[in-house]
Subunit: 320 residues, 2 copies
Amino acid sequence: MNPGTNQTMESSAIAGGPVRVTPHESHASDIFAPLAEVEAFLAANLATQEFDRPAALADAMAYSTLSAGKRLRPLLAWHACEACGGRGTDSLPAGASIELIHAFSLVHDDLPALDNDDLRRGKPTLHKHAGEAMAILAGDQLMVEAFVWLTQTGDLSPSQRLELCRELAAATSRMVSGQVYDTLGGLPANLSPEDQLRLIHRNKTGALISAACRMGALSVRGGIQPAVLEAITTYSQCVGLIFQIVDDLIDVEQTAEHTGKRTGKDIEAGKRTYPGILGVERSRLEVSRLRDEALKAIGALGPHASALRELCLLMCERTK
Amino acid sequence: MNPGTNQTMESSAIAGGPVRVTPHESHASDIFAPLAEVEAFLAANLATQEFDRPAALADAMAYSTLSAGKRLRPLLAWHACEACGGRGTDSLPAGASIELIHAFSLVHDDLPALDNDDLRRGKPTLHKHAGEAMAILAGDQLMVEAFVWLTQTGDLSPSQRLELCRELAAATSRMVSGQVYDTLGGLPANLSPEDQLRLIHRNKTGALISAACRMGALSVRGGIQPAVLEAITTYSQCVGLIFQIVDDLIDVEQTAEHTGKRTGKDIEAGKRTYPGILGVERSRLEVSRLRDEALKAIGALGPHASALRELCLLMCERTK
C-alpha cells in the first residue's frame, strides 16, 4: 500500500508495528493528540458518583474501561466530527459512551459461558479479577452508563442528543446480535460462508465502529448535510469490516505476548474467520479494496478529513 | 387498612389474594384494562425485526418478556400518565421499555453466578431454558432494546423522549448498583441495618418502579407542572419501597407453588430483608405508613388519580 512512501511511524496507540504513511499525511502525532482528552473525559466521568454506587462496582468499571485500550472508537468519533467541520471536543460524550459499550461487550464476551478468556489487554479479565457475578453486573452497568452519559452530558440540542442515543442503541443491539451469531450460530443457511461471515461482523464489530464515526459526525453543532453523513457512513462501514478482517489476521499471525490477549483462539473455537474462509492473501486484498472505498467516500471532505484517512491506513496495518 | 371497607376483589393480575378497596375506588376492572394494550405493544415490538437478529435470540427475548408478568411497571406508567391529565396510550413506549429493563434484570439476576434460580414466573429461568450464554446475551439485548424502543417510537417531542431516556438510564444504573449491594455487599458501614436495607432497595427495586411512575407522567403531551411531577415522585418512591417490603414478606410467608418462584431464598442466602430486620409486624406497619404517604402525595390530583390510589392499595395487599 502507498507505494513510494518512505516514512515510518512506530508505536502509536493503534498500530503495534511500523506503518508507512505518505509524507503529506504524516500527522501521526496529531491524530493521537485527542487521546489525552479522551482519557481525561473517561476517567473524570467514571469517577463521578452521581448515584449511590458500591465502590467495588466503580472499581470494576474503571478496571475494564481505563485499561490500556486503543481508544479507536473515540478517536474515530473525534476525527469524524472534525472531518465534518465540528470541534473534536463536542464528540467526547459520543466517543466515551461508545467506549463504555465496547468495554461492556469485552467484559461479557470474556465470561466463562461465552469466550471464557483469562487475559485481556495484558491483564486478567474482569471475572478473573473480581469474580463472575461482578463481571456480569459491571458489564450491565457499563452499558447503561453509556446512556447516562449521553443523556446527561454535553451542550448539543435535545434532538441531536436523542439522535445519538438512537444510534448508540441501534449499534449496541446489532453488536449483541452479532455476538449471538458468532458464539451460538443461527445464521441464515441460504447465505454463502462469506456472506454469513459478513453478517456476523457487520453486526458484531462493524456496527459499533460505524456508529463511532456517525456519532462523531452527528455531534457537530448545528448539524451536517445528508451527503456528508452519507460519506462518513460509507467510510465507517468500510473501516468496520477492515477492523474485523485485520483482527482475524492478527489472531492467526501474532502471539499472545505481542497482542496482550490470547491468540489462535478463533481456530481453536472453530469460528468463522476471514483468513479461514478467504485465505490470508484474499483477506489482505479485501482489506485493500475496503481501504480504497473508504478513502474515496471521504474524498470530497478535503483536508479536514486527513486524520480519518490516516486512521484508516493505520487500521489496515495494525498488528495488535 | 381501610377500616369499614366491605368489598373484596380477587384474582387480579397484581393481587394474588383478596384485596379490600373502598367502594368509591372499586374500579378493579378499569385499572387492569390497559393490560391488553401493554401486552399487544410488547408483543408487536418484540416481533419487529428491525435489525438482523438471530431467531433464537428473538425467542429468548420473547420467552423472558412475554411470560406471565404482573406488568406492574407499565400499569403504573399508564395510570401516572392519566393521573397527570395525559392519555394512557402515550405512556406505552415508556412502560414497555421499563418492562424490558425489568425482564433483563430478572434474566441476569437468575444466572448461576448471581441468584442461581431455576424457576421464574412458574417456568424454567432463561439459562435453564436456553443456556447460560444465551441468557447473558439476551439480557444484554433486552436492556439495549429498551433504549431502541424509547428512541424510535412515539410521538412525543425530542426533549421529552430524551428526558425519558435519561430517566430510564438513571433508574437502570441505580438498579444494577442495588443488585451489587444486595448480592456482593459493599454497603456503607456507618449506616444502620435499616438504612442499609433502604439503600439496597431504593436502588434495586425502588428506582425502576419510581421511574415507571415518573416516566408515565413525563409522557404527557405538552409536559406537566413541576408540582405534579413532585407529587408523582413522592408517590412513586413510596410504592417502590412498598413493593419491596411486600416482596420480602411474600418470600417469608408464601410457598413456591403459590408464587411461581422459589420462596424462602432470602433467608437461605442470608440476605437482608425487611421482616428479617424489622420483624413481620413492623414491616407491615411500615407498609401502612408508606401507603398513607403515597396517597397523601397524590391527593391534590383528584379523581384522575383514583387508579393510582387503587394500585397502591393492591400493592400493599399482594401475596405473589
